[in-house]
């Protein structure tokens, strides 16, 4: 095929980029090479729009063993153990083919983790869908959830939940962000480096087919009506094969014969080989005739760009190939030497005796274009103040709370995660439904004192109103969820879901959000260890709200038999205390920020104003206080106040685990608030607040510690045996039975999807 303007367009390359390619090669590329450049210089692989901005993120810290740039980040846990984790998007494929798109998203992130030498122990997902009133959105939601379940359940990794949000902006652009975490020995980590000239390059795992060709290019374009025609670009996952690949890789790594390894994700053979070479300053020469193939008659272009799943490329020590082959044979997997590490820094590919591509690795990686795209502040599109009279109308607060508990962004997500295996390998201390997921570190040498807590968070509406503040809040909330288990937040990973970066407003949103993430991660001591950028989330020119999703991982130190803190009030007769780092605000400021709440959107039907205020110093002190109070044994439960405000949080403390743990007895709460505007007191979403319960005898110590830290610790009331009762300035404004609340909260999602 000729290299002409049409070919450039098909590969998503501009005329300027083509000129640069010619300059780097010192000649015209052939068609295969053009395909390789197209995919490696795609937004998905090269981060060409975002890389300059990402440089501003904090990535260092005393416990960070590996920051961005590898397959996943690595953080020290202690006692010689490390955790390996990352979040990655699979948005575009999940829109085109929800089941396989989501399934292969899980498969890809799991490979990123075990290629580092870690056994995956937990996954989570952050999902965004359009309203379920649309049949297409229901189909996408159902397909995505089934796809995640299919892959994770069969692979055998516990799914600890995550978050799911519904908003009209995700109707043509669902978001599927998959997070995975694994555990490794600090001295048993593996990296994607092609070390040692003359060492064999070995292909392992599934055979190569024609599936997924151009997946990375597809993920770097907007969608149109013709997108369904791209369905063949979506890869098909086989979790069984991936399970075998996991066991074989870990077993092969244990032989000591493997020097470097990388999964074949986007752009398959191409990206794995040139990135491994670039990281080590070496080259790779590969013979495509040796690549295991599932189809006949594939040409070099197809083999290099195939995104067939469940494949890995590794470099072994010369002479020890047989040790590696033996392990893969045992697991019934292909393992073939396809090339050799060279000293010239080139990716050289042969097919049927001819060199079909010869490109310096750095031209594909470090020399990929970097754009400083134009930016322009984007108006939020929302008014600054609510419609007249909206906040002062008389309302039935019981009715409002019932309605809020049943709305899609507050209701129980049990229908979703009941389809996930949440406890395989029997380490789950806190599964889906609480603030954060927690797995114990069950180690070869008996029990460990450490557990790992993890949570995902993002809020598109807040970022639409103010991307910088919205991003800061996402970091703070993810870290707060982790801290609410009693854990110390250690590090973060981010998935940046945005629209078309060629629009100056979108570019500005991206820059602001990355700035906000940097602010908050620095303040909270949680460096970014990697992640993923997903741009062009637009269909027919309609983009998503900017949706940075943050994953935060924390370390929990447990005494033998000690459980992490849960959200549920465990028993009647406990004191309920609201710990708060929320900044003081005037009444006008509160009303303005109230416009970003779920109550405003779902019950009042309007969004306005600004996201909640946030005091990052106070937030850090709050996390430290929670950890201290947990270690002192003062606390019986902790649940952060978020979507739906204090009223929804109180209801959740009563309803949490009610359906999952049939043996638990009912619990309720009665609290009294000082005189205030009822709507704000019940439903505002001020950041930096955590509802805790404690034995009455422990309250004084807790309040004293809070005061010493400059935090507010309001004693609100007591847990009861049943129902929720809220008094405001001496007047009862909420009184609902437990069954009444459960009837609103538990079946709402299922009723629309089952």
């Amino acid at each position: 095929m000729p290299v002409n303007a049409t070919a450039l367009r098909q590969h998503g390359l501009t005329a300027d980029e083509y000129a640069r390619i010619r300059e780097l090669l010192g000649r015209e590329p052939n068609f295969t090479e053009l395909g390789v450049f197209g995919v490696m210089w795609s937004e998905h692989c090269s981060y060409k729009s975002s890389r300059r901005l990402l440089k501003g993120l904090p990535t260092q810290g005393p416990d960070i063993l590996q920051g961005p740039g590898e397959n996943a980040g690595v953080v020290r846990v202690g006692d010689g153990w490390a955790c390996v984790f990352k979040i990655e998007s699979h948005n575009h494929p999940s829109y085109i083919e929800p089941f396989q798109g989501a399934a292969t998203g899980v498969g890809g992130i799991l490979r990123d983790v075990f290629t580092m030498g870690a056994r995956p122990v937990a996954i989570m997902d952050s999902l965004r869908f359009g309203p379920l009133s649309s049949p297409q959105n229901r189909t996408i939601c159902d397909g995505v959830v089934s796809g995640i379940a299919h892959y994770g359940n069969c692979f055998g990794v516990a799914n600890l939940g995550g978050e799911t949000v519904f908003d009209p902006c995700y109707s043509g652009n669902p978001l599927v962000n998959a997070f995975a975490l694994g555990i490794a020995r600090e001295d048993g980590l593996f990296f994607g480096k092609a070390r040692g000239i003359g060492n064999p390059v070995i292909y392992v795992g599934a055979k190569t087919g024609r599936d997924g060709i151009h997946g990375a290019t597809m993920a770097s374009e907007e969608f149109s009506e013709a997108s369904a025609a791209k369905r063949p670009n979506v890869q098909v996952g086989d979790p069984f094969l991936e399970k075998l690949l996991l066991e074989a890789c870990l077993e092969a790594m244990a032989t000591g014969a493997i020097l470097g390894i990388q999964d074949m994700g986007a752009a398959g053979l191409t990206s794995s080989s040139c990135e491994m070479g670039a990281r080590a300053g070496t080259g790779i020469e590969m013979d495509l005739d040796r690549v295991p193939q599932r189809e006949t008659g594939m040409n070099a272009y197809e083999m290099l760009l195939s995104e067939s799943q469940e494949r890995m490329l590794l470099v072994a020590e010369r002479g020890r190939e047989e040790e590696v082959f033996r392990v893969f044979r045992k697991w019934g997997l292909d393992a073939v030497t396809v090339g050799v590490v060279t000293g010239d820094g080139h990716l050289r590919v042969k097919h049927q005796g001819e060199v079909v591509a010869d490109i310096p690795n750095t031209a594909l990686t470090d020399e990929a274009p970097r754009y400083q795209r134009p930016m322009q502040p984007a108006p939020s599109g929302y008014p600054d103040a609510p419609r007249a009279g909206l906040l002062s109308a008389r309302r039935d607060w019981n009715q409002d709370l019932r309605q809020l508990l049943a709305c899609d962004n507050v209701s129980s997500k049990r229908w979703i995660w009941q389809q996930y295996d949440t406890m395989v390998r029997t380490n789950t201390l806190a599964g889906p439904g609480g603030d954060a997921g927690v797995v114990r570190m069950e180690l070869e040498a008996g029990e460990s004192r450490f557990a790992l807590a993890m949570a995902l968070d993002g809020n598109g509406r807040w970022c639409q109103l103010d991307p910088r503040q919205g991003a800061r809040l996402a970091v703070a909330e993810a870290a707060r969820k982790v801290a609410a288990t009693g854990a110390q937040p250690l590090a973060a990973t981010n998935c940046l879901n945005f629209g078309n970066p060629e629009k100056p407003e979108v570019m500005w949103q991206l820059a602001e959000a990355i700035g906000g993430i940097g602010d908050a991660c620095r303040a909270l001591g949680t460096p970014i260890t990697g992640g993923n950028v997903s741009l062009y989330n637009e269909t027919l020119g309609q983009g998503i709200q900017p949706t940075p999703v943050l994953g935060v991982v924390g370390r929990l130190e447990l005494a033998p038999g000690q459980a992490p803190l849960g959200a549920r009030f465990p028993a009647p007769g406990l004191d309920i205390v609201l710990l708060s780092a929320a900044p003081k605000q005037t009444a006008d400021e509160r009303r303005r920020r109230f416009g970003s709440s779920e109550y405003a959107a779902a019950i009042l039907g309007q969004t306005w104003g600004a996201p909640p205020a946030l005091d990052l110093d106070g937030e850090l002190k709050l996390h430290q206080l929670l950890r201290h109070a947990f270690q002192q044994g003062w606390l019986a439960s902790a649940h952060q106040v978020s979507t739906g405000g204090l009223a929804a949080a109180l209801a959740e403390c009563c309803l949490n685990q009610r359906a999952e743990q049939p043996r638990l007895t009912a619990v309720g709460a009665a609290i009294e608030l000082s005189a205030d505007e009822a709507m704000l007191a019940l439903f505002e979403e001020s950041a930096g607040r955590v509802l805790v319960s404690c034995a009455p005898a422990q309250r004084a110590a807790l309040q004293a510690a809070a005061q010493a830290a400059g935090l507010v610790a309001l004693h609100l009331g007591q847990t009861q045996s049943e129902g929720l009762r809220i008094l405001l300035g001496g007047q009862e404004i909420i009184h609902l039975g437990g069954d009444e609340m459960a009837a609103a909260w538990e079946p709402a999602l299922e009723a629309q999807l089952a």
Binding site: S146, A149, H150, N153, C154, F155, G156, D238, P239, F240, L241, K243, L244, W331, G332, W417, Q418, Q419, Y420, D421, T422, M423, V424, R425, T426, N427, T428, L429, G561, A563, A659, E660, Q661, P662, R663, A754
Partner: protein
């Protein structure tokens, strides 16, 4: 006493079963590779949960052709204890070592949650430490767990008290007569869909499964 856990490609609860078996027996449990025919002198065999051979065709359908299963059959015919959990139960049914079959869940979706089950028979090597009628909380985690057999087979199972566990108030998959677990006529082979190996610590949700392994340990001593 030595316990073995069969490891098929795609088993993913083998690790949990090995751990439960080791802690009950007080000695390391033995992983038994699917290609082997040697049970290495084990006194009891567990078939763990997971997706053996990817559960392609039908859950458990391919595993029953594996070399190890011939050895397990001989072992069971000789009256030794064999327990199949989840995928292991599916394999035992496919292999004809237990009556009935496991169909896709009534809701056609994978279900993972804790359910109450009732102990219907204590005269098996895996339930002797329980009381008849006792209610246990075990997690289920499966997509194909709806127990099915012809009415006359079910009647015969009831008459011979081969129903070992029944869902008690929350049947998660549409199993006929709420059957969660059965045994063979010799009572030495038991299969159940719920996961006792995941119910061994109250900290992790329930400790009710511990006695399954304690029963086995007592029998094998």
């Amino acid at each position: 006493m030595k316990l073995g856990v069969v490891v098929f490609p795609g088993s993913n609860c083998d690790h949990d079963a090995l751990r439960a078996a080791a802690e009950a027996s007080g000695q390391a449990a033995v992983p038994l590779w699917h290609e082997s025919q040697d049970l290495e002198g084990c006194d009891g065999i567990l078939l763990p949960g997971g997706f053996s051979y990817g559960d392609y065709l039908r859950a458990g359908a391919l595993a029953h052709f594996s070399p190890i299963l011939g050895a397990v059959k001989k072992f069971a015919d000789a009256g030794h204890p064999v327990l199949g959990i989840c995928n292991g139960f599916q394999i035992l049914c496919e292999a004809g070592m237990l009556p009935g079959a496991l169909l896709r869940n009534a809701g056609l979706r994978f279900v993972c949650r804790q359910v109450p089950i009732r102990v219907e028979s204590t005269s098996t090597p895996f339930t002797s430490a329980y009381q008849r009628g006792e209610i246990l909380y075990f997690p289920v985690a499966h997509g194909e767990g709806s127990y099915f057999a012809a009415p006359e087979v079910l009647d015969r199972l009831e008459q011979r008290q081969q129903v070992v566990f029944r869902y008690a108030g929350d049947n998660p998959n549409g199993s006929l007569r709420d059957i969660a677990g059965v045994c063979n006529e010799g009572r030495n082979v038991v299969g159940l869909m719920p996961h006792p190996e995941r119910a061994r610590r109250a900290l992790l949700g329930s400790g009710d499964g511990e006695k399954i392994f304690a029963s086995l340990a007592a029998v094998c001593q």
